[in-house]
């Protein structure tokens, strides 16, 4: 005979939240920041092939921390959603807010109804253009969605990174400055991160439809001035 113990909803939510937070805190962080003519995303990532930052659509980027297989599935689902929406309507009808909402709903469902909450936190960002504004959203493991006006931090020790970044990013800068600030905030006062351990991508208008570009180590080093 099996025993069923009463667990209060408060306790259940707390346990699940703790479980997810633990998983996310183990991973390394990602910073996304808006600069004068684009959006830059910086991740600490030792792997050169398992990406944390990816292109979703012409002007939309995705970044995820936590369990790789879980955020990678979310990334794929986002690409499928964006490509099918653009195919059905038009490329201009693909909007990051709708995507962020879908992610929030899915993460919320998995948190309350799934076998276990997803141990991920994600950033989705959109480069503004003639049709849509620049937007930066952070979606947490339980489906909380935050609209970030200037920069977003997820994973690892997000709070202290956010504090460090807030101290220097009081206004919008150019790309080299923003990148330097982001990397300094990521590494903190005690250590430096090698350029080879950084994954950097930007969204910027270059006269082409697709705005996503991965920066090579050489390009990153040049922008950082190291």
């Amino acid at each position: 005979m099996s025993n069923y113990f009463y667990v209060s909803p408060e306790q259940l939510i707390k346990d699940r939240a703790e479980f997810a937070q633990k998983g996310i805190a183990r991973g390394r962080s990602i910073v996304a920041a808006i600069y004068d003519v684009g959006i830059v995303l910086v991740a600490e990532n030792q792997s050169a092939s398992l990406n944390k930052i990816s292109e979703i659509y012409d002007r939309i980027v995705f970044a995820g921390v936590g369990k790789y297989n879980e955020f990678d599935r979310l990334r794929e689902a986002g690409i499928r959603w964006a490509d099918s929406t653009g195919f059905t309507y038009s490329r201009e009808d693909v909007d990051v807010r709708a995507l962020a909402n879908y992610y929030a709903q899915h993460l919320g469902d998995m948190f309350t109804e799934g076998p276990k909450p997803l141990e991920v936190e994600i950033i989705v960002a959109q480069l503004g253009g003639s049709v849509r504004p620049t937007k930066l959203y952070r979606v947490a493991y339980e489906g909380t969605i935050a609209d970030e006006p200037h920069f977003a931090v997820v994973g690892g020790d997000a709070d202290s990174i956010r504090d460090r970044l807030a101290a220097v990013e009081q206004e919008v800068h150019d790309l080299p400055t923003t990148l330097r600030n982001a990397v300094a905030a990521l590494s903190g006062p005690e250590r430096t991160i090698e350029v080879s351990d950084l994954e950097v991508a930007i969204l910027e208008d270059r006269g082409t439809r697709r705005t996503f570009v991965r920066l090579t180590d050489a390009q990153t080093a040049e922008l950082l001035g190291v």
């Binding site: 292109e55 979703i56 690409i79 499928r80 490509d83 653009g86 195919f87």
Partner: protein, 263 residues
């Protein structure tokens, strides 16, 4: 169930097979209307790439449009041209463009040129074997691993064949291909290839009622595209105009006769 009687237009006549189809004993064969192949597009290899040239006319019994783009970049290194149903052709291009981009975003890697060519086969097959609105495309591109231009043509059932010299699609094919067959050499330069491909479309426009030639009145000229190491490049209208003015001048001087040479 009454007697098997038919109206005059549906009467199967003495054919039992037709009767079986009409009465539902056999599945009806799709009604293949005479789908208009209102196009001529050619692709031609040269030493450092491929050129594609295509006319601009859409025909539906009359001239439906004079400035259709039948060649599009499927991605940075690949061009797709269409012949057959305009509606299905446009959808096909959209689907191909999206498929290649989708693959690249999902896997963070480019499809190979051959991978792209093969991927299109079942799409063509599915369309053409289930619909009378047939599409026959042509794929050309710069192969980034082999460092050469390559051409893939398709038959109506989706069969994919690589061509090492040139290929033509659409209703003007016999005329365009004749010009290409006579003028092709294995050591063509980019300029030679552009001249020959432009002439092939001129010939098709001159002979095939469903292919448009250069339109000096409206300033609409065939599309000319180069695919080489730099990727997909469409020539500016002024350059295309210059080439067709030269051909036109020579033909006018010859009083409409090519005169035994490819000019």
């Amino acid at each position: 169930m009454g007697l098997p009687l038919f109206s005059a237009s549906e009467d199967p006549g003495p054919s039992f097979v037709r009767f079986a189809e009409v009465s539902g004993l056999l599945p009806a064969a799709p009604q293949v209307r005479d789908a208009p192949h209102a196009t001529t597009v050619v692709a031609l290899r040269y030493a450092e790439g491929v050129v594609m040239v295509g006319d601009r006319q859409a025909t539906a019994g009359y001239i439906a449009s004079r400035d259709v783009r039948k060649i599009e970049a499927a991605d940075h290194n690949t061009g797709i041209a269409i012949s057959g149903s305009a509606a299905r052709g446009m959808e096909f291009i959209r689907l191909a463009q999206l498929s290649f981009e989708h693959y690249q975003k999902m896997t963070d890697a480019d499809l190979t040129l051959e991978g792209k060519a093969n991927y299109l086969s079942p799409i063509i097959q599915r369309n053409n074997l289930t619909s009378p609105l047939v599409v026959v495309p042509l794929l050309a591109g710069w192969d980034t691993t082999r460092h050469e231009g390559r051409i893939f043509e398709y038959d109506g059932a989706g069969g994919c064949y690589e061509r090492h010299d040139f290929a033509a699609i659409g209703s003007g094919t016999p005329f365009a291909e004749s010009a290409l067959r006579l003028g092709f050499r294995t050591d063509l330069t980019r300029e030679d290839a552009l001249d020959l491909a432009a002439l092939a479309i001129y010939e098709a426009g001159d002979n095939d009622p469903s292919t448009g030639g250069p339109d000096f009145v409206r300033g609409i000229f065939p599309m000319m595209v180069v695919l080489d190491e730099a990727g997909f490049t469409e020539l500016p209208t002024e350059e295309v105009r210059g080439r067709y003015e030269a051909i036109n001048r020579r033909r006018t001087e010859g009083q409409g006769v090519a005169g035994g040479s490819l000019r």
